[in-house]
Structure formats: C-alpha cells, structure tokens
C-alpha cells in the first residue's frame, strides 16, 4: 500500500445511490405493491417496472470467499446488484424474472438455502460467542448452525402461522435481539465473578466497578493495603456487567455456563405492540458441538406453535391467547421459581386479577 496517498478521515460511507439497481432508482419512493413468488422470492412493482428479489441464507460469519461467491452470482444475474438484509441474509436483485431460477440454481450449487420470506423462520440474529468475545458464556455461530440445521425446512417454506424470528446471544449484554424475538437462546453464567485481587487495583476503577452492578452486590474493600472490591454472592445474579468494566472479574465457568431459552418477543407494531421475550427454560447445559438439549427445546417450541397457533398469530400473541399455563403444559417445560420475576418491575408481572385458566 502506497503511503504517499492523502489520509482522509470522516468521509462517512459511500452514498447508497450508486449501489441501487436502476429499476429501484426509477421506482424510488413510488412502489405500488409486492408479490410473493415463491419461498424466498419476492417481486416489487412500481410505475417503472418490477424488481425481483431472491433471498439466500448466510452464516453471517462469512469469509471473503463466501462474499466473492455471492458477488459472482450478482455479477452473473443481477447486473452486479445485491444487498444484505437486517437479518444478515443476502438478497439478489434483478429486473429479469427469468433470472430468478438461475440465481436459485447457482445458490443450490453452493448448498445455500433460499427462503426466509413471509411465514418462515428467517436467519438468526446473533453475536460473537467463543469466536471473538471475552464475555461469552456459550458459542453463538455454533448454536445458530445446529438450531438452523434442525429448522432449515422452516426457512425454505412459508408454512408457519406467522413470521418467526430467532436470536442467539452469548451473554447478558445481548448484542442482538434476544430481548425481543419469537424464540431466543441466551448464554448464561451461573456463578459469581472470580476476583483477581492481584490485578484489580491496577486495571479497574473502583467506583465504576461498584456502580456497574445492577444489584449493588459489589462493595469496595481493602486487601493487603490495596483497594479492591468484594462481591456479596447472595446478591449476585451473574450478569457480567462488572466484568465488562473490570477485566479482573471474569465469570466464565465451564462447569456452569450454559444457555437459557426465551420466547414470545416481537418488534413489529402489527396487531399487537412490541413484546419482550419471556423466560421459557432457565438453564440447559453447554453441550458442544451440537447442543442437543437446546435444539430439542427449540424444536419443541416451534412444533407446538406450528400445530396450535392461528394464521398470522406470532408466537407471543398465541401464548397470550392461550395463557402461559397452557404453554408450559403443551411444551412440557417445567415452571420454576426462576420464572417468577424478582427485578425492579417484578410487581407488574404478578397476576393481579381472577382471570386465569385452570
């Protein structure tokens, strides 16, 4: 790389317009309607014509090879135009209907599923896990792979009651959509931070560390004349926020780390307001490489939902209709004390009416 080039800063991203397919530019802001051609294939029509979209899965953790495979298909059949979706799928854009099948064939050759549209399970929003993050209580890419291996048919078809959004996050920071997904898998620690008093006084700011704890479990203390912190283990619920601000307080514990399963969240305003996910299964062990307990639980939820919900009823809407009592009955998951909220708005979750199912 030549070093005599002018160093530019703060130029921001390139203008999107140069990346828009001509038909999209022509119809910009004037679209009339869309149609679903097949699972994973949409058409959008405006006064200036129609654009066809083929949506392909991606592992998201993608090599330059993978991306080049994608750009090649775009070059071959889409005049070079492609995009990514907010859920990390790849979308191929063409104004030639006849190219749709060619794109699908090219993808099939690469063993890349096409789908994720309408009432499908789309790609999984996820995070770094053991691949890149210091905080992770589990792996993310691995969990996505094993879960989607199980659910791939729901990606390539559109026969669920409604859109079903999955998410995986590897720790309580939830870098993604765990708190508002139909089904979410969340890595959890289950033991308090192990404090390294030899490094803490140098690495961590005590007031920040103390303030980081949602439950005020951390107090300053003095060991051998140096200010460090101690954790009231009865008050610790293993959230890991202290570790985020203080590297000397790791929580990782191979024996006890694992995952929890959450259900019933949604984002859209369609019909019902956005909903948070709620706890379904408090703990399943980390059992790599294929986490069978986790895939079983997720499969169970999807199956029960598919069999029981009404058309266009999201998972959370369905549970709201049939009651949580019934949800636990149908899935066979155990309802435990862990399901009872005890954080700051806990009281708002207590059942404060007689309206109940028996």
């Amino acid at each position: 790389m030549a070093t005599d080039v002018e160093r530019k800063t703060d130029i921001g991203p390139p203008h999107y317009e140069q990346f828009l397919h001509p038909v999209m530019k022509a119809n910009y802001g004037k679209w009339l309607y869309h149609d679903s051609i097949a699972p994973g294939v949409l058409s959008h029509t405006g006064p200036e014509g129609t654009i066809y979209t083929v949506r392909a899965a991606s592992p998201r953790l993608a090599s330059t090879n993978f991306i080049r495979n994608m750009t090649k298909i775009a070059t071959d059949f889409c005049d070079g135009y492609l995009r990514f979706t907010s859920r990390n799928n790849v979308e191929f854009l063409t104004d030639k209907e006849e190219n749709v099948d060619k794109i699908k064939a090219a993808l099939a050759e690469l063993k890349i599923p096409v789908g994720g549209t309408n009432n499908a399970i789309s790609n999984v929003v996820h995070t770094q896990g053991w691949v890149h993050c210091h905080s992770a209580a589990t792996d993310a890419s691995g969990l996505v792979k094993v879960v989607m291996d199980e659910l791939a048919d729901y990606f390539t078809s559109e026969n669920l009651p409604a859109k079903t959004r999955l998410a995986v996050a590897c720790c309580l920071n939830m870098c993604g959509a765990v708190h508002a997904s139909d089904i979410a898998i969340l890595g959890v620690h289950r033991t308090p931070p192990v404090i390294d008093h030899s490094t803490l006084p140098n690495l961590c700011e005590i007031p920040t560390t103390v303030a980081s704890c949602p439950n005020n479990a951390i107090k300053p203390t003095s060991i051998e004349g140096k200010t460090t912190v101690k954790v009231d283990e009865d008050k610790c619920m293993y959230c890991g926020n202290c570790f985020t601000v203080c590297p000397s307080m790791p929580l990782s514990d191979p024996l006890n780390d694992g995952v929890s399963i959450w259900v019933g969240g949604k984002i859209s305003n369609a019909r019902t307001e956005p909903m948070f996910t709620k706890l379904a299964v408090p703990y399943l062990p980390n059992n790599p490489p294929r986490w069978p307990e986790v895939t079983d639980a997720v499969k169970k939820i999807v199956d029960v939902y598919a069999a029981n919900a009404r058309p266009f009823e999201r998972l959370g809407e369905w549970i709201d209709r049939i009651s949580w009592a019934r949800f636990f009955e149908l899935t066979g998951f155990e309802f435990t004390k862990y399901h009872l909220d005890d954080f700051r708005w806990a009281g708002t979750t207590y059942k404060r009416s007689l309206q109940n199912r028996y």
């Binding site: 130029i11 991203p13 679209w31 993608a62 090599s63 993978f66 063993k111 993604g176 984002i267 019902t272």
Partner: protein, 400 residues
C-alpha cells in the same frame, strides 16, 4: 498450515443443511493462518466449554476513538495466528445495498490486511471485518478510505446508524430512510468517530411501523415511519382479495387491534379515527390498502438491552415529525437531547435509563417538547404529584 487442522468437534458442524461457518472458515484457512488458528482456538473452546479471549484492549486508527474492537487471544503461544484478532467496523451504506465491485474491493483489502473473515453484518449494522493485527489497522483504514469507505462507531459515541431498504424497494416507506440515514451519518461524523458521550447512542431508522430494523428494541433513538391521515383504500383491489377466497374476516377484520375495520360484501370500511396504524391490514392486502399521504415518522427514545436496569423498548417522544431535507428540526432535537444527556447523564447511563431517572416530564421540559397523551399508555396512577405551582400567602391566589 491448514493441513494440520485437528478440529473434530467443529467438523461436526459441517454436517446438516444450514451453511456451515466452519466449512467457510476452512475455505480461507489455507491462505490465512489467522483463520486456521481461529479454528484451532475455537476447537479448544468447544472441548473446554469456555472462551479464550482476553478482555478488550484499546486499539484504533489515528484520530479516531471508535471503529475498532481490540481483541487478543488468552493463549497467544498456542495460537499465534490470533494473538491479535481485532475487528474493524466499516460503516455500511444505507440499506446495506452494494455492487459486486464495491464488495469485492473490500474483500481484496481484507484478504491483504486481515483474516479473510467478516460478519456481514454486525448487529448494529456495520460491516464487520473480523480479525487483524494492531499494525494492520492503519493500512486497512488507509486502503478503505481510498476506496471511499470509512469506519463505523464503537465505544461511547454515536453508533453507526442503520436503516431498512425503505423507499428503495418497499411500498410502505413513509419517508426516505436511506437519505436520512446518510444525512445523519455525515452530519455527525465527529460524534461517530470520537467517543465523547456518557455511553453509546444508537440510531436505527425504519420506514414504517413494521420496523424491519428492530429500531424500537435496539436503538437509543428509533426513527420509524408513520402517517397521520387515512389509510388509502382501493375497493376494486379489495374485491379481488375477497374473490380470491382469502379469509378477510378472520385474517384482517378480526385481527385489527382496535376493531375498526368493517367489511360489507366486497367493500371495506376503515374507521381511521380509531386506527392505530399497526400496519396489519395493509400488510395482508398491500394491493388494496396503502399508507396515507401525510407521511413522516415517530421518534422513540431509549431502547436497549437489559444491562443495567433491564431491557427497554424506545418510548415515544415525538409521535409525528415530517422528515424532509435538510432535516433541521430533527438535527435540532438530536442536539438538544445530546446536550441535556451530556450535561446531566451519568457515565454508562443510556438515554433510556437517563430519561427514567430524570423523569419524562423534566426531560420534555429540558429538550423542549410539550407533554402530550401520545407519550404514555395512560396518565399516572399514583397520586405522588410534584405540584410546582402554588398560591403564596400574599399573592391572594393569583400566583398559580
């Protein structure tokens, strides 16, 4: 190099119909020792059920405070390829639209300067170039900027804004999500690249209440399209839906949250005064129904993941704002919000937590918004009112 890969556990992840990231990483492991060692370290994680990354580390490019996440292996002797494994966040174009050429250009840079691995895209929206060494950061940056790319955010700054495809391919878009996102990103380059806030500040932009960027759940400021007037009805097209045998009653009428749709034979009638713009009926019959003409956006502040006070969805601060270039009203609002947060927020206090702490009433007062019923699901239930007006002894009742 890649020949001696012993990763039996990971290879279990090469089975099954879903694209395998293991197979994919392997495909570059031949030319990238970083990729190979990533697999080796990951295999060890799979064996031991724990990660092997050290806690962060401040690295970056000259003059920028954000855009790079430092990462070092905890076992650098064992896995020297990932002893440094920093990520570079590249600011994506609005709507994640690309041409093959543009993307290939970035891949070239990354094959030269990095691991050959990416996330397309990160959860915030950036193109994430995954894994490189400290000394490669500046060259990577130089190469990127030469091709017109710049870094995104990280740390306590404005994070890379992102938006849905909106008017570029969607009939529901109530404003130009791509233009606005571009505008905000350019307008606030300094805030994006040089962390000076109390904490991160994320902006996500969705063109309609379907909220395809999950803005209401994942951005400190969610800008979501909405319209004010009536849903536009095409009765002819509606009749076609009826004729097609669609269960209009069950799928549309009965699912309207405010029961404001009635159907008489092949005619649909919407009581727009009670419609809450949920999109459901439009979603189900996009040819017959369309968003209105008075279009703009609502602004919701404060969404975030659980740490520290529990997860929050954004809360409506402005139920309707018109969004046209040059977006002055919005810029003003954003700046007033940052100013007040900057002055009174605590370190690591997200805007959502901040508003709850200072109270919604005070926040409105300080950033110059009138309290209106649209900001709440209902007025207060508790009687603990901080009355500010009162009569003074002398004033004989006139002071209130």
């Amino acid at each position: 190099m890649a020949d001696d890969l012993k990763i039996p556990l990971l290879e279990e992840l090469e089975k099954g119909p879903w694209p395998s990231f293991v197979t994919d990483i392997k495909s570059v492991a031949g030319k990238s020792e970083m990729a190979a060692d990533l697999l080796r370290q990951l295999e060890k994680s799979y064996e031991d059920k724990r990660g092997y990354w050290k806690h962060g580390g401040l690295v970056g490019v000259r003059g920028y405070g954000g855009g790079v996440i430092g990462r070092y292996s905890a076992l650098p002797e064992e896995f020297p390829g990932v002893s440094h494994f920093h990520t570079v966040r590249v600011n994506q174009p609005s709507g994640w639209v690309y041409t093959a050429d543009a993307l290939n250009g970035i891949m070239d840079i990354w094959d030269e300067h990095g691991s050959g691995l990416t996330n397309m895209h990160g959860s915030t929206g950036d193109m994430v170039l995954l894994g490189t060494r400290t000394e490669e950061l500046e060259p990577t940056f130089l190469a990127l900027t030469q091709k017109g790319w710049d870094l995104g955010g990280s740390g306590s700054d404005m994070r890379t804004p992102s938006c849905c495809i909106g008017p570029a391919r969607c009939e529901y878009a109530c404003f130009d999500t791509l233009a606005l996102t571009y505008n905000l990103t350019q307008e606030y380059q300094d805030e994006l690249h040089r962390p000076m806030f109390n904490y991160k500040f994320k902006i996500k932009v969705s063109g309609c209440p379907n909220d395809c960027t999950a803005a209401i759940a994942r951005s400190d400021m969610a800008i979501i399209g909405i319209w004010k007037d009536d849903i536009k009805v095409n009765q002819e097209e509606f009749a076609k839906y009826v004729d097609s045998g669609m269960d209009v009653q069950g799928i549309v009428v009965d699912m309207c949250p405010t029961s404001c749709i009635s159907v008489d034979g092949k005619t649909i009638d919407i009581d727009d005064s009670n419609c809450v713009k949920c999109m459901h009926c439009i979603n189900k019959m996009p040819k017959a129904l369309a968003v209105g003409d008075e279009k703009g956006a609502a602004i919701a502040l404060g969404a975030k993941a659980p740490i520290v006070d529990g997860a929050l969805f954004g809360s409506i601060m402005v139920p309707f704002i018109e969004l046209e270039e040059p977006y002055e009203e919005l810029h003003d609002l954003i700046e007033r919000i940052w100013e007040f947060w900057d002055e009174h927020g605590k370190a690591r206090e997200r805007i959502g937590e901040f508003i709850e702490r200072v109270t919604l009433a005070r926040f409105c007062e300080e950033v110059g918004l009138d309290p209106i019923p649209q900001m709440v699901t209902h007025p207060r239930e508790n009687p603990y009112i901080f009355y500010e007006e009162y009569f003074a002894e002398e004033g004989e009742g006139s002071e209130e």
